[in-house]
Symmetry: C2
Subunit: 257 residues, 2 copies
């Protein structure tokens, strides 16, 4: 078994409903210990956006949102909530696709993520009129959790990925994607390495942070309460000042915006 | 530890270079046993496209390909191999984007996958003039491996996913995607279920086969020889006549073609 590559993904269960100001780093450490899977050196944490946003006070009461004429117009044609349409527009820096007939809004968020509804949703949010925005700076959110954990436990410096569930072009089904990262390189670049046949690899740059986020989703079923996962055994590249930015394709290089 | 959700991903190492006609199912069973991680009930196998294509004789000698005038024209502007351009076009049913300046061809393959170069590449293929096509029918490839394994070992009926590495719209870095499936539902539909806050989930349909493929990639580093992974502990939905087709968005529903 010595040379067998193996990774474990462990869900952290039992966290209570998260409120603004909650200390997520401390809660993660405590609940990981409580279920006998304490954080260890080499672990990576994947934390769902929803609890990060809740801890950062990113819930919005739609009753306080005044829709613009444009938002009201799109809402009336699409059957969507005009206040939510307004909020989606406010949280975007550009609209990639709008389809009133099907009620679809694909936007580029202020952070640069291309996703439906600027990442705003109401699932797992209590209260009919409340929706949840993405964290303002998910890299900083990841960094904050990582630093807090480093204060609390001795040995490991655990990289943190903030994940969210987005749709994809061309394929049905949603996937989990990384929206913030701290402590590890989100990409693994094989370009310049030699493959098993002796050829130079020219293209392959793997989006490991997205693959880690997707792997974590497998233990984070939507309807049960598993908002955090430990990925154990993946040999990540530790870096300072990590950011999700290198994973966001520049508009000038993008054929689909 | 009883209620802690946990998944393991185990790479299968040591397989020799695959040749046309090799019995992949039997090799996978043998090498999994040989490294003391025999297949067990509940396991899912993720098998990279490259070894499936090799076993199915999908290597092509470019010296036998006669480029069309169109392929030659694109090749001369993009600096690409005209024979490869020709093959990419032959393996596609439509071109989604071509950019001669950057040498990019995004096509829709005969199967319906939207990816660069119709999924053709030369990495890990021996011989300067040889490239590798996708399997002709990756669902059938997955089914064949699954049935062969069921003949060889007793208890488990192990679902099989064939994976390949594709680029994505909007994001840098490649990811592993499912291109064929047998024995499990590639999607997990939460629509109609109730979330932790009591709200009806309206949208979420998770592309689990892609997440399993991506998770497997984490143990399948490109430059070493790990072409197969076991995913252990994921509660998949067993189905007969599984297919990747429901995961391929219909053109009429797609905003990015």
């Amino acid at each position: 078994m010595n040379d067998v590559p193996q990774i474990s993904i462990i869900g952290i269960t039992g966290l209570p409903e998260i409120k603004e100001g909650d200390d997520l780093g401390s809660m993660i450490v405590r609940f990981a210990q409580g279920q006998d899977t304490p954080l260890a050196s080499g672990d990576i944490l994947v934390v769902t956006q929803k609890i990060v946003s809740k801890a950062e006070g990113r819930l919005v009461d739609l009753r306080k949102i005044e829709p613009s004429a444009f938002a009201a117009e799109f809402a009336s044609h699409s059957g969507r909530d005009a206040r939510l349409v307004e909020l989606v527009l406010r949280e975007s820096r550009s609209v990639v696709r709008m389809d009133a007939e099907r009620g679809i809004m694909i936007t580029e968020t202020k952070h640069g993520f291309v996703c439906a509804n600027s990442g705003i949703d109401s699932s797992n949010v209590f209260g009919e009129d409340y929706v949840c925005l993405l964290p303002e700076d998910p890299d900083a959110s990841a960094e904050g959790i990582r630093i807090r954990i480093r204060e609390l436990i001795d040995s490991p410096d655990v990289p943190v990925i903030i994940s969210d569930t987005f749709g994809r072009a061309w394929r049905e089904g949603h996937g989990n994607f990384a929206i913030g990262v701290s402590g590890m390189d989100p990409l693994k670049d094989y370009r310049g390495e030699i493959d098993a046949s002796g050829k130079l690899l020219r293209v392959t740059n793997i989006a490991v942070a997205d693959e880690l986020a997707g792997a974590a989703e497998l233990v984070m079923a939507k309807v049960i309460n598993v908002p955090v996962a430990i990925v154990r055994g993946y040999a990540y590249s530790a870096v300072d000042n990590a950011s999700i930015a290198p994973m966001l394709r520049e508009r000038s290089r993008d054929l689909f915006r």
